[in-house]
């Protein structure tokens, strides 16, 4: 029996389990890419008709830090994909990572790999099957996207280069996740390692792309390869080879690690702990905090770094844009008058509030994973109530996301002030706080989905966030009707400090969040557990 015996069977099993999830992921990412390009091209068929608008926005290091540099400012095709390049690369990388983790460490943690391992299955087969499935999913997404672009009449070589850039980023993370799954001994720490790698890659390339002197940072970041492929410009399709190289290295490395460890174990060994519980661990919310604390601290570190980057770039971003025409346009984009720096910071804080919502959703969905694992049953067998159990992770999500936003606002303010900016710590704290109600609506929606539709709660919560994000980012571009754009809670956050604080939308968002939480409690009270 070779180490790969059974790979085909396991691949079939993985496909059977993921026959909805994987095609849906492929179609969602490719569909979003093609439809946004189509909408942009319909609005601006030539580069001239764009009036240079988009290319001028991309003169701002802040926008470049977020979206990456433009492949070719004179090509409408390049402009059509510029907003999608980096966001899609991140989504596709997360997709590849999720598929690999799902079929390796998560399976091992659940004990199912043990069951399979006792059959005629080679030692390397489960990992091989997971990597093949993830690689296939990534490549099909890239292929469909390229075909879609060519179908829209976009330049072929550029479309191939675009897809190659995506493949480079996502395949690299398939390889990196394979290694992370071997290093970690739990599914959660695997998520931490791989998610941290994606976050670090984004940070590296956002610095590299926006600071000319540090552009080499973009080349050592797998996410940077998506923009370095310079689609519809230099067309560096060969960047795909970089991704393949990381994938191959990752797979070889993970096989080497796999051959040296026991089933169920990781290389990062578990430690012993205290024989007694601390006083804080005596209620459901105490448990939720204990379980969620390491994750929260990780997110907090991310938000501090994010605040440093955004705050550090604020001054230079606005100094660069001296041209009154661009300044005027940015103001229009920002939706208001005011200092250019304020406009930039408002946009960034608004965008990062979506990430804070993602944190809250992760925490809220822990309610579901705790129930599936049988832990909720044990807690509810104690002298506690359903409301306290439901509130436990919800409170951590709500308060945690608010703390993240306030820390972000504070760090941006302090860094900006140190760099000689004029935004002001107090105003940025207020701006960050004004975005919290919209974040809470997203979290409350996830809790409500858990209470009423536990099986599909994750799909509902993440799907809603993806829709809110898409509608917010692309709504105007896609020419979506106003009422649809208004569905996204983020649309209603007061755009401070560009605009003054406005009470009605904040009260409205808080009321929606409260209503969703009340509905969640009504549902959770009466349903079966487990």
């Amino acid at each position: 029996m070779s180490a790969y015996t059974g790979t085909t069977e396991l691949l079939r099993l993985a496909w059977r389990r993921d026959r909805v999830l994987v095609p849906l992921g492929i179609l969602a990412i490719a569909g979003m890419a093609v439809s946004s390009a189509k909408a942009t091209l319909a609005l601006y068929p030539t580069a001239e008709s764009m009036g240079g608008a988009i290319s001028e926005i991309f003169a701002s290091p802040a926008a470049v830090a977020l979206y990456g540099p433009i492949g070719n400012p004179t090509s409408p095709d390049s402009l059509a994909v510029v907003k999608m390049t980096m966001m899609g690369a991140v989504f596709l990388s997360l997709f590849g990572y999720a598929v690999v983790r799902r079929h390796t460490r998560s399976e091992e943690e659940a004990g199912r790999l043990e069951l399979l391992g006792s059959g005629v299955v080679g030692r390397r087969a489960p990992l091989a099957a997971a990597v093949v499935l993830a690689t296939g999913a990534v490549l099909i997404t890239c292929l469909l996207t390229a075909l879609g672009y060519i179908g829209l009449g976009m330049q072929s070589a550029g479309s191939v280069a675009f897809a190659s850039g995506w493949a480079a980023s996502a395949l690299a993370f398939v390889g990196i996740t394979a290694v992370a799954a071997q290093l970690s001994s739990t599914s959660r720490s695997c998520a931490g390692l791989a998610g941290g790698a994606i976050g670090a890659a984004f940070l590296l390339r956002s610095i590299g792309d926006s600071q000319a002197t540090l552009s080499w940072l973009s080349w050592i970041s797998p996410l940077g390869w998506s923009t370095q492929s310079a689609a519809y410009g230099a067309n560096r399709s060969w960047v795909a080879l970089l991704g393949v190289a990381v994938l191959v290295a990752g797979v070889i490395g993970s096989f080497a690690l796999l051959d040296r460890r026991d089933l169920g174990a990781g290389l990062l060994a578990g430690r012993r702990g205290s024989a007694h519980a601390p006083a804080s661990l005596s209620s459901p919310v105490g448990l939720a905090w204990r379980l969620g604390r390491p994750g929260f601290l990780g997110w907090l570190a991310g938000f501090v770094v994010g605040g440093l980057v955004v705050g550090g770039l604020a001054k230079s971003a606005t100094d660069l844009i001296k041209d009154p025409g661009i300044a005027d346009m940015l103001r229009k984009m920002g939706g208001g008058e005011g200092l250019l720096e304020d406009v930039y910071l408002t946009t960034e804080i608004g965008f990062i509030s979506v990430i804070a919502a993602a944190f809250g959703i992760v925490v809220a969905l822990r309610l579901r994973s705790e129930e599936v694992a049988g832990h909720t049953e044990q807690v509810l067998a104690g002298a506690t109530t359903r409301s306290r159990v439901l509130a436990s992770h919800t409170v951590i999500g709500l308060l945690g996301s608010a703390v993240l936003m306030l820390v972000l606002g504070g760090v941006i303010g302090v860094v900006d002030a140190a760099a000689g900016g004029s935004a002001g710590v107090g105003r940025l704290l207020a701006s960050a706080a004004a975005h919290v109600p919209a974040v809470w609506v997203c979290i409350a929606l996830a809790v409500c989905a858990y209470a009423w539709l536990p099986r599909i709660a994750a799909g509902v919560a993440w799907g809603a966030l993806a829709v809110f994000l898409t509608v917010g980012e692309f709504g105007g571009l896609l020419g979506l009707p106003g009422w649809l754009i208004d569905l996204a809670p983020f649309t209603h956050s007061p755009r401070m400090p560009v605009e003054p604080f406005s009470l009605p939308p904040v009260v409205g968002l808080l009321a929606v969040a409260a209503a969703l939480l009340a509905a969640a409690y009504a549902g959770f009270r009466r349903r079966d557990i487990g």
Binding site: G273, L380, T384, I529
Partner: protein, 295 residues
């Protein structure tokens, strides 16, 4: 109050599957009650209704005089639960889980906790993911036994324990009984049931098929009988005899089974044929269960 658990006509369906179909269960205060049945017969579903985790579709259930669905908080201060499949938070130690579950119930007896850790030979400093199935079971048992509660709901609590620990468990249950507390023990280990339980209920397909003390249940079952006779009996001789079943006659040897309450008359009748040798065997617990499970 005489009954710790009083369940009648309990029904529960999951989609199209009927898990409980009019189940009855009475557990008197102070007794150790065995709860038996084949896999999938509804034992865990019953226990989870008694815990207020599931809502019954029909019938009534009372636990310690309270409604398990509505009086959750006050009721759960007085009971402890050990699930059949104990899962642990991977990053919490056994000691932390014991303390946490105990505090949720309103506190636990530290001295008792330490004594139980000693008796069960459990290391409380290991993290959840490092425990074997048996050790996870011990964590839940220590947490439940260290609490001062009136009722213990134990769902196959010894499935992963070695014989030595099984012995410790039996001693602990005997002490619980001596304290006058009540135990509902779901189990497949017949020797354990025989050693521990005052009464048992056997369920099948979501319905109670037998309930009573082991002596009573034994009485309902046939005794197997084998006799060597001086004057071989013919089938015709015995056909009029009530209570004798499955008769096989091979030469002078007769084997069969007798309804336990008819042993006297049957032996009298056989005596007329001159008994040279006789063995009578009371039904084993296993036979009793197999008969209930299969009927």
């Amino acid at each position: 109050m005489s009954d710790a658990i009083l369940v009648s006509g309990l029904r529960k369906t999951f989609g199209t599957t009927t898990a409980l179909d009019g189940l009855d269960l009475t557990v008197s205060t102070g007794e150790v009650h065995g709860f038996l049945g084949p896999n999938g017969s509804g034992k865990s579903t019953t226990i989870r209704i008694l815990l207020g985790l599931l809502r019954a579709d029909g019938g009534t259930a009372q636990v310690l005089g309270a409604d398990p669905w509505t009086d959750v908080e006050t009721l759960h201060r007085r009971l402890a639960y050990v699930p059949g499949d104990v899962t642990m938070w991977p990053n919490l130690t056994g000691g932390e889980v014991i303390d946490f579950l105990g505090r949720l119930r309103g506190g636990l007896d530290q001295a008792k906790r330490d004594a139980l850790l000693e008796r069960f030979d459990l290391d409380p400093t290991k993290k959840g993911r490092a425990y074997s199935k048996g050790n996870r079971q011990k964590v839940a048992l220590v947490a439940a036994l260290a609490s001062d509660v009136d009722l213990l709901l134990l769902d196959e609590p010894t499935a992963g324990l070695d014989p030595l620990m099984e012995r410790v468990f039996r001693d602990c249950i005997d002490e619980v009984r001596a304290d006058g507390r009540t135990v509902l023990l779901s189990s497949h280990i017949l020797s354990e049931v025989e050693a521990l339980c005052d009464r048992v209920s056997i369920i099948k397909d979501g319905r109670t098929v037998e309930s009573g003390s082991l002596t009573q249940l034994r009485h309902l079952t046939r005794t197997s009988l084998s006799a060597v006779l001086d004057r071989p009996a013919t089938a015709a001789d015995l056909s009029a005899l009530h209570g004798l079943h499955d008769v096989v006659i091979e030469g002078d040897r007769l084997t069969g089974s007798v309804d336990t309450e008819r042993i006297g008359p049957v032996l009298d009748a056989l005596g007329a044929h001159g008994i040279r040798a006789l063995t009578c065997q009371a039904p084993t617990l296993e036979e009793l269960f197999l008969r209930s499970y299969q009927s």
